[in-house]
Amino acid sequence: MNGARIHGIVLSGVGGQGVLSMAQIVLEALRRSGFHALQSEIHGMSQRGGSVHAQVCYADQPISSPLIDDGCADLLIALEPLEALRYVPMLRISGHLVVAEDPIADMEGYPPLEDVHAALRAVRGSHLLDTEALARKLAHKQAGGMALLGMASRFLPVAESLWQEVIAQRFAAKGEKVTAKNLEAFEAGRNLIGEGVGA
């Protein structure tokens, strides 16, 4: 007997980077695309500059597990390269990884950045983004996160217009300019990965 296919997305980064906020955008976009979806997150102590991660599961039918097992995630979105490496074992063999190259390395024992990047490039299905260069190019300091989401969107069954709608709503309170900047960053990321490359 073949069971149902349940899809999993892992999002990771450092406290304060907006991991949970991005997870909510992904959750909302999937839900509006007609999927049953839920999200799991950890609050409290971890938010004080520690590792933060969230998970989003979705399927065609009602699901109930807030947790994804190792080897069962289809996509990893990482806002920081070391925090990406930590969760690589959660990916299926066929899974994809979009990750920011820019590190948050103010901690003891952070491995040499070239080694971290090399390890990430060696993972099949990985897509690294030079977040700093993109932020400069778009003159938008926080462009990295939305650009990563744009890259990730190529691997998710959500229409482009729906992404734009959800992102616009998310930033509506911050005004048109901020919304436009974030939509621009999303598009820039989305264009980095060719159509048809994704699942």
Partner: protein
Amino acid sequence: MTQSTLALGVEAAAQAAFDAGIKGAFGYPGTPSTEGFEFAEALVKQDAGGGRVAHWAANEKVAYDLALGMSYAGHRSLVTMKHVGLNVAMDAYANSALTGVQGGLVLLVADDPGMHSSQNEQDSRRLAEFAWLPCLEPSTVQEAYDLTWRAFELSEALQVPVMLRLVTRLAHCRAPFLRRPVLAPTGVGLTPKARVQDWVLIPSNARRRYVDLLAKQPRLREAAATLNRIVPGTGRRGVALAGLGRAYFGQLVLEHPELAALPRLEVAAYPVDPELEQAFLGQVDEVLVFEEDYPVLEERLGLRGRARVRGRLDGAVPRTGELSPRILKDALGLATPEGKAAAGLELPVRAPRFCEGCGHVDAYEAIQEALRNVGAPEARVFGDIGCYTLAAQEPLAAIHAVVEMGASISMAVGAAFAGQTPSVAVIGDSTFAHSGLPALLTAAEARANVTVVVLDNRVVGMTGQQPSQALDQVERLVLGLGIPEADLQVLTPLPSRHGDNVAAMEAALRHAGPSVVVFRRECIQSLRRGVLKEHDREAREHAACSSCTPEVTR
């Protein structure tokens, strides 16, 4: 039924309480329960004029008693706390089983198996059992909503408080859910005169009420039985499931349809009916139990002696920590897919730490230098619960014991009695209000040779910067508890004040008898968010207003 927006499990429970017509929500912050109260508070604010209230309390016991008083007055109330908070409220909770309730009372308690943000992983189901009270345990966000409604109905039907037990993964699981129409907080009327003696727990009444409580137990089991069920299967190997064990197994059945053949006992409410347990055990020779935290169901089934019961006690499930899909798969003998491999780099732990510019760091540096200056660089310092607990780790390693809310002061007094000198306690302002006050009263009364440092950042920092109940009151509280004005110093923890702060701290350490040093600087997170902006503006206006009495200005 209306489709709601997305919400966390703990928020769905709060929404249900609001919809079920609570007049009040009370609580004390604590991960993973905090967002429950905050959600209820936001709903109450939106409902301006609706006659409802939401109020943080100084501690969980106060919060519980507020809810109980509201119940006495005939209204539904919700009280929220984390699992260790229920220890603080246990006196109120256990005795409210004897008084019973008038308006429905639901205790939302969030357990933290795996200790994501807690000092232990105690199981609140045991405390419900201890108090002879019902406990409902949802496994999904929708159930968190539905069972909260049910909890209010049961509370009023059975006239007892009802516990709603969540765990971290459900409390912080975000999903959509369906709502029922909102009830107004109309209430059922004040506790009638004929029932007043039920609420007066002098021994003669308490004995009668205890008999009444035990006599209610069959009705409690019957009520729970409507939420528990046996799902028959084929074969003699079965599973018993509760809470997230149910959620994880339910999803595994989708992925591995052959699992649907296993006979299942599904538990969502306690106390579990022994007849249901017997009926299930009659269908199986072996049963695997998946439940969060303690082996509550496992022990009950094991005691029946009818089948081989497997779980946390025999190692089929790890003895400690939270459940996960992997744990269920391993126990059920399901293969787990191989994941991607990453190159073998050593991945250092990224531990949480103080925010950049946090005043706690400046305070600890002053404390440590002062201890060196008085010739006690190795002095053991008693810490407490909050962001400032982070100082227990390197590089500061500035506190050497952290046990439970308020312990710092009493432990420092105990150690001083044992001869430790200097004996130092470090406690946050909100923890001080929570349970440091009686401890400082004892320290002052006993003239104990302790130095109590209050790290006053004006908010409950760790849980999201809720205003502290001791906001702008710490000095007055300290003086009121019997510390002489000369032995109280208020300092500003800033690098530029370091020299003065060290000198002041030194003086306190050298002082024989109790002394208090308050380091006050607002949490930089709350400052950034402007949490206290409105409060401070009002305080300034009041201070400038000649017709206001000083009492009003706080």
